[in-house]
């Protein structure tokens, strides 16, 4: 029986994988075609649901990696064997295969092209994904809002979207913190954020995304540097059901 | 391992377990007093409401029959309270006759905080959310009073064999 979708309420849509490419040895970007996709804001996420033939289903939330672009939706997934959904998306799914997807969701951790404050993005590992969507949305809108990105990754080989981030882009400054490069272990610190971020006086919108410990460290540093807590938006990623 | 909040860390010196009757009378045990009571080593199957089961888990603890022996009550219901604020309700008869324990060892080792230590309630014949982690007391009641999950859609009794997960199941 056909059910009519209630306007505004969230429903599952069929998404067909149209292409995929490896970002690093452990991460892959997937581009889906989602007919009727209503568009999204940078920073929003989607829930992906897989259902086996016996009816068992597993679900997980992913940040959107792309700026809104018609029916095209891009995700970047880690291939690490974490839960049930990511290994399937990372290793098994082929172009033409279908999954269910619902969204976009989230209205807090988002950047809108109409926003005018300078932006500081701080990414830990695959926390770059929703921040990359913001960089792409800025570019798509030809926005002149100045962006700074501080990207903490284990080594240069772990950097997602490396080629795209190397390309010079007016108004976007990118700096890196490598935590395992050259046999050294280090963590992002006050000096990194102070040197490569914005002064608190500029009242930038700060977006921090990464593992819980990383997000807490960076958010504490930003507040200690004088940024207003409400201007520091965070997204900790953790398992949300497979 | 399921948890609805931060893991409470309770120093053993200040840990206490209390049974409070419907008349307000309180019986309590310190950590050392609990350890001094006769213990049992039940080996039981666990059933979680999120559809996994773990078979033949071994525990050490004190039977609720021992703890309730001296307690005078006309109550039919019990509400378990935990450090951290969690609660869960069950009929008092489900705590009696060798069906429930306050356990403090798992697999021969002290119960770690993430598994509910220093001590948790163990009621293996009901879904695992009834086996309150970090238990600090049992309140005896004349009327049933739903606990943390029971006030948010979960079944009042929670019998895994009848798949009583949600209200109405």
């Amino acid at each position: 029986m056909a059910r009519t979708a209630l306007p505004g309420r969230l429903t599952w849509r069929v998404a067909t994988l149209s292409s995929l490419h490896d970002e690093t040895a452990t991460a892959r970007s997937l581009v889906f075609d989602v007919p009727g996709w209503p568009g999204h804001l940078a920073g929003q996420h989607v829930d992906v649901r897989l259902t086996a033939e016996d009816g068992y289903s597993a679900q997980r939330s992913y940040s959107l990696a792309s700026a809104t672009d018609g029916d095209r939706v891009e995700l970047t997934v880690q291939k690490v064997p974490d839960g049930e959904v990511s290994p399937y998306l990372g290793d098994v799914l082929k172009p033409g295969d279908q999954v269910e997807l619902r969204g976009p969701v989230g209205g807090w951790f988002v950047w809108r092209p109409t926003d005018t404050a300078p932006v500081l993005l701080v990414a830990g590992g695959s926390g770059i994904v929703p921040l990359m969507a913001m960089i792409r949305a800025r570019r798509a809108a030809s926005s002149r809002v100045p962006f700074r990105l501080i990207y903490s990754a284990r080594t240069p080989d772990d950097v997602l979207y490396a080629a795209e981030l190397r390309r010079l882009e007016g108004g976007l400054d990118v700096s890196y913190v490598f935590t395992r490069a050259g046999g050294q272990r280090r963590r992002i610190g006050v000096a990194d954020v102070n040197t490569h971020g914005w002064p608190a006086d500029f009242q930038p919108d700060c977006f921090v995304c990464g593992p819980t410990g990383f997000v807490e460290t960076v958010a504490d540093i930003l507040v200690a540097l004088g940024h207003e807590p409400r201007k520091v938006k965070t997204e900790r990623f953790g398992p949300t059901g497979g | 391992m399921l948890s609805a909040g931060p893991t409470p860390r309770i120093p053993l010196e200040s840990w206490q377990f209390a049974i409070t009757t419907e008349a307000g009378q309180q019986h309590h045990w310190s950590w050392l007093e609990l350890l001094a009571l006769p213990s049992q080593t039940p080996t039981v199957d666990l059933h979680c409401v999120t559809k996994w089961s773990k078979l033949s888990t071994s525990w050490r603890g004190v039977s609720l029959d021992v703890l309730l022996e001296e307690v005078e009550t006309a109550a039919d219901f019990a509400l378990a309270h935990s450090y951290g604020g969690y609660t869960t309700n069950l009929p008092l008869e489900d705590l009696l006759d060798g069906q429930a324990w306050i356990v403090y060892e798992y697999d021969g080792a002290p119960l770690p905080p993430e598994h509910g230590g220093p001590a948790r309630l163990l009621v293996p014949h009901l879904y695992l959310w009834k086996s309150a982690k970090w238990v600090r007391g049992i309140q005896l009641l004349l009327e049933d009073e739903p606990g943390f999950w029971e006030t948010a859609g979960y079944h009042d009794y929670g019998d895994p064999w009848r798949e009583q997960r949600y209200q109405g199941d």
Binding site: G8, H45, G106, E235 | T7, V49
Partner: protein, 84 residues
Amino acid sequence: MTYVDGNALAGPLREIFAVDLTAASGQCVACGQTGPVAALRVYTSAPGLVARCPGCDEVVLRLVRGPSGAWLDLRGCVSLQIPL
């Protein structure tokens, strides 16, 4: 046990409500702290979703999704101010 941000409530709440509630601002009943739903601490490894106040760790919101319905408890929240 670790937690995620209130952002993780976006999907489960949009299944119920027609507008995004993670950008809504609420006040904690227990300590009075005000902030966005997106900044709550959400514990997902539980029979339901439990969102706690980042200031005092008290429960602000609980959401249980059963096969044929959902239970939403907002008793830890004084009110929600929802941007429309």
